[in-house]
């Protein structure tokens, strides 16, 4: 795999199978025990590892079968947080937005056992997946800290502990997602400072996923985010962010979103391949990683699988083209 170009990956979450969704609902109503639920989460995780292998994805994820919301999962495990009541995110979708009620702390690792389990199932690398400190702050209510910077740096410390534990457990890729990074462009220095705390002692490949917002407002400043790879939604935006790279060249590895995750329909292989070719105009094939725009948790298992299939097929089409171009005439 090491000499392969255009390594394929995904952003982190996949659709949960029906049996797991039902089990999670039953668990929430107190009708299914935690250990029974955990068994089903392990089963679904293994199924997703096998699916990713079958689909021939290069860099895997555990699929987050055991997580609901990407902030609430951590908020439920960190000291200082409590879960608030339901708040709407869009349409008819609601979530329990966390409240930072007092100083935060990490009593014990939150994702390391799941990483170890997922990695034990495959020889391909599995990414360690965390939510970044700025997003943890921005998607929570802050009652505990005087300033947002102070809260972000306190959260950075607990995320750093978790990231270093993932590295110690053997993770070769650690992704620290910051989808909220452009929520307040004037605060990007805080997000950068907090990420520096998280990645300061890591010597693995570091990644951050950014999506759904005004990327132009934080570019090129976001290139200062101390990670090796930025992971961006592009298909949903008609690849318009790439034009920014004309003026200020992109300097990191780019994981490029080539299928929109919010539609039930999936782009054709040809459309997705065209997206990869657009990316190749700005980033070399060694540093460009095709993937879906965002996590796939809002899609069904079948839809998730179909979107991944298109990513991999499109990548293979473009790899062949590159091989032909490279071959001596």
């Amino acid at each position: 795999m090491t000499d392969q170009v255009l390594l394929t990956t995904t952003v982190g979450s996949f659709g949960k199978p029906d049996y797991l969704q039902k089990a999670r609902n039953a668990n929430a109503r107190g009708k299914l025990g935690d250990s029974e639920l955990s068994e089903l989460e392990r089963k679904a995780t293994e199924e997703w590892i096998r699916r990713q292998e079958r689909l021939d994805i290069d860099i895997l994820v555990d699929g987050e079968m055991y997580r609901g919301d990407m902030v609430a999962y951590f908020a439920e495990r960190l000291e200082g947080f409590r879960l608030g009541g339901l708040v709407r995110s869009y349409g008819n979708r609601y979530y329990h937005k966390p409240i930072i009620a007092s100083k935060v702390g990490r009593p014990k690792p939150m994702t390391v056992d799941w990483f170890r389990y997922a990695q034990s199932l495959t020889d391909r690398p599995v990414k360690g997946m965390l939510t970044g400190p700025y997003t943890l702050l921005d998607w929570s209510y802050n009652e505990a800290y005087q300033t947002r910077r102070e809260a972000a740096l306190a959260l950075a410390e607990v995320v750093r502990q978790e990231a270093e534990d993932l590295q110690a457990a053997g993770a070769r890729y650690i992704q620290v997602d910051e989808p909220a990074i452009h929520a307040r462009p004037e605060e990007i220095d805080i997000a950068i400072e907090a990420m520096a705390v998280v990645t300061q002692n890591l010597d693995v490949k570091t990644i951050s996923h950014v999506c759904y917002g005004d990327f132009a407002a934080i570019y090129p400043k976001v290139l200062e985010l101390p990670v090796d790879q930025l992971d961006l939604a592009m298909a949903n935006y008609g690849y318009r962010w790439l034009e920014l790279f004309d003026r200020d060249p992109f300097t990191k590895e780019l994981a490029i979103g080539i299928v929109d995750v919010h539609s039930h329909e999936t782009e054709s292989v040809a459309e997705a391949a065209a997206g990869i070719r657009k990316g190749l105009r700005y980033v070399s094939k060694e540093r460009l990683l095709p993937h879906p725009d965002c996590g796939l948790k809002t899609r069904t298992v079948e839809e998730s699988e179909e979107k991944c299939r298109v990513v991999v097929e499109a990548t293979k089409v473009v790899r062949k083209e590159l091989a032909r171009q490279a071959a001596p005439a």
Partner: protein
């Protein structure tokens, strides 16, 4: 001093999730459009009832049917479609981006039915709301108009038609929700030109700004042809309370933070109100949450409203 609310009220609570279930049933084909409409009406009744019960003087309909601030208009207007999901300013809340595909036109009756229904429920003074033209225009994707100016003024003409209909139906006050004005203060002249078109409808307008500080715009706001100006004093650092004497309008001061769960203390609120009253007479000061309360869980939203009403009463503005 009167108390009021702006924007959307929480549509469900942890206890009452009837609307959420009804929407799921509608999606699965188990509830028809009439059935769903009935649940929307009941939820609107519930929201207005709560606002009345807490003691808010001037209520709106809670925008229970609105998916987002732009949705009713993007849905109803010709020349508009609803596009991809986008984050709504600095919130972890999303809206469907309007996509403008042709000249925007409307019969002006987009809000009429819901306005008449809700006004019939409210016990006290009732106000309507529309989206601000600059906000709609800056958040839309445009495949038709040539410039932001053309787009904003076209939206303004459509919004003016909506306001004219509301006025004919008896509306005495219409909120114009215009966060884009403080998000993009550089466009204030365009925003004003748009508001001037809205003012031709002849209904008193309340220009509601929120999320961003109004400090750089206070002098410019003084010349807007509106009855009220809404100002958020919580979302970001601002010294605006010290400068309110620049305005000659009624000021709707957003003093409880509708985007954070920490409930303001009575003392804190009294401090802001007293500072405002040093700049302007009480008759011209209304008190409100910073923006729509839908950014909060329902239970906290109610606590915030209670804090708001208590602060208004404690500072002596409202007879109990």
């Amino acid at each position: 001093m009167k108390t009021t609310v702006i924007g959307a009220y929480p549509k469900i609570s942890d206890e009452n999730q009837e609307l959420r279930r009804a929407l799921h049933r509608h999606d699965r084909g188990e509830l028809d459009a009439n059935g769903l409409s009935g649940v929307f009406d009941e939820t609107t009744r519930w929201a207005i009832g709560e606002l009345d019960w807490v003691g808010i003087d001037v209520v709106n309909d809670g925008q229970i049917r609105w998916d987002d601030m732009l949705a009713p208009f993007a849905r109803a207007w010709d020349g508009c479609e609803r596009g991809p999901l986008e984050r709504f300013y600095d919130n972890n809340t999303y809206f469907r981006q309007p996509v403008i595909t042709g000249p925007i036109t409307t019969d002006g009756r987009t809000l009429l039915r819901d306005y008449e229904f809700a006004r019939g429920i409210a016990r006290g003074q009732f106000k309507a709301a529309v989206c601000g033209p600059l906000t709609f225009a800056t958040l839309a994707e445009d495949h038709h108009y040539r410039s932001l100016e053309d787009r904003t003024l076209a939206v303004a003409d459509a919004v003016a038609a909506e306001i004219r209909t509301l006025g004919a139906a008896g509306a005495t006050l219409v909120d114009v929700e215009e966060p884009a004005l403080v998000a993009h203060p550089e466009h204030f002249a365009l925003a004003r030109a748009a508001i001037e078109r809205l003012a031709t409808a002849g209904v008193p307008l309340a220009l509601q700004t929120f999320f961003f500080p109004a400090d750089p715009l206070l002098d410019a706001l003084a010349a807007f042809p509106v009855a009220q100006v809404g100002i958020d004093v919580r979302s970001r650092e601002t010294q605006v309370v010290e400068k309110l004497n620049a305005l000659r309008h009624t000021v709707v001061l957003g003093i409880v933070d509708a985007r954070n769960t920490r409930v303001e203390t009575e003392r804190e609120l009294a401090g802001v109100i007293e500072a405002a009253l040093r700049q302007m007479p009480a008759d011209y000061l209304w008190l409100a949450p910073t923006t729509g309360l839908e950014y909060l869980p329902h239970a906290i939203a109610v606590q915030k409203l209670k804090a708001l009403v208590a602060a208004a009463r404690a500072t002596g503005g409202v007879k109990v």
